[in-house]
Symmetry: C2
Subunit: 301 residues, 2 copies
Amino acid sequence: MKLTILGCYSATPRTFTNPTSQVLEINNHTFLIDCGEGTQVELRRNKVKFSRIKHIFISHLHGDHFFGLIGLVSTFRMLSRDIPLHIHGPKGIKEAITLQLKLSSSWTDYPLHFHELTSTESEVVFEDETIIVKTIPLQHRVYCNGFLFQEKPGDRKLLMSKVMNYDIDKAYYRSIKKGKDVTLDDGTIVPNEELTDDPKPTKSYAYCSDTRYDEAKISLIKDVTALYHESTFLESHKHLCATTGHSSAIEAATIAKKANVGTLILGHYSTRYDNIGLFREEAKTVFDNVEIGDDGEVFEF
Amino acid sequence: MKLTILGCYSATPRTFTNPTSQVLEINNHTFLIDCGEGTQVELRRNKVKFSRIKHIFISHLHGDHFFGLIGLVSTFRMLSRDIPLHIHGPKGIKEAITLQLKLSSSWTDYPLHFHELTSTESEVVFEDETIIVKTIPLQHRVYCNGFLFQEKPGDRKLLMSKVMNYDIDKAYYRSIKKGKDVTLDDGTIVPNEELTDDPKPTKSYAYCSDTRYDEAKISLIKDVTALYHESTFLESHKHLCATTGHSSAIEAATIAKKANVGTLILGHYSTRYDNIGLFREEAKTVFDNVEIGDDGEVFEF
């Protein structure tokens, strides 16, 4: 599981910082999460192959999270893309993109599928054999979802030394790996736990931006391998969290601690701060395993 | 008159080249012309003060000329702008911008005025005491206008040595500077040409992107100080001009020659070319005073 931060600063793009966008590579998928202005250039800079991106997840329709989407959709067309693109985001995103395509007389030649979100409950937005993606309802000034990416557990591991103690036909191995007990010819039941070990642990990633402090999501993101949680403000400006619908570093760390996550990655820093190291310092007073997200940073889990 | 090229490459933004946008500073105005994705970052990089921009002129609604507009409009809001902004562009531009403002619940606090263009004849889009801005109808795949920025002639220069030959009351100086003859007390008429010299020559700038070769605009841009004319293709790809609605370097130079312009600035290069110096080489076979536009380049006239 590899996370590349393309941009993780709030509000406006600046000369050396980018608005929110990140790429999650997991189980042979390349998911793009949010798409602030300039994302297509950051994808190039970070050598992410455009054709690998088949799903884009947009948290909400504030500009610093989606103004780069129309440019990317258009560039895909100019690069003669023919594979489908799926865009998952709040209701309205289809109208915003298609209106601009219409005005520029630039319909895509590739299939463009919009999956508009309206639910305030967590829902599955993508699923295949190895992975499931769910929304994480967030509390912001506008309708907003985080996204939870979870590997599905693989098969249980056959303990051949144990299996060999019995006369078990190979045809049963597949069902044993799936967790089934075995009934021998004499009617004896061999419990699955005796024959198998747990599958390798699954990895999971939770993306939570933008949101005010809200414990409702904790049960959803419990025990994730890595949590990206926005931390727009330091303690010195924590009074701004409530009105702006954002979190402080300490609030992000509190969520991480209560959800027992593996690693907390901070981001969405207000551009008023020069030293983003202070976000880690403050978060670490609550939760130990804190990483500072920054543009171009790569995290592997 | 100072022209700053923020971006002058066609199609998609890339790591080191930007789509079209430029800033024209003339007679105390700072006009923004076109606004491809990333323009707000290029404005910062080129140290253009955001608050100086009161008029934005958009040639057409292809993404490489206007996808940066919504981001800039939003950033102005976040920077607490309160002075009005005027956006001049093709019909549809208002809907594209206001829909996105609505979806992001981010109405501007400053007055935002749209001046939508539909005419296929040249028309005045802005005028004050010292300057006039007119559209230059262009021939592209979609409705498209260039823009002509013309200084108005100043007052004629009083030749005091000549004025002193007569008994002329100072109260008449203003009308003499405006070109009026003087009638002396004895009825003698002193012609204005005897008392004044021509005002200092006016400067003018014509922006023509995107357009196929079209001589109809020549009378409009006749004798301009500087002409920016798109040159998307070299001779090796000139067969692409007709279908894409673009010009070659030689076609741009031919227009410059026939319009007797002072300086031709080339731009809107196809990103297929590595050496943009070739555009000058080809243009120079037709017209001598050719400059190569490039991102971050500044031209003063």
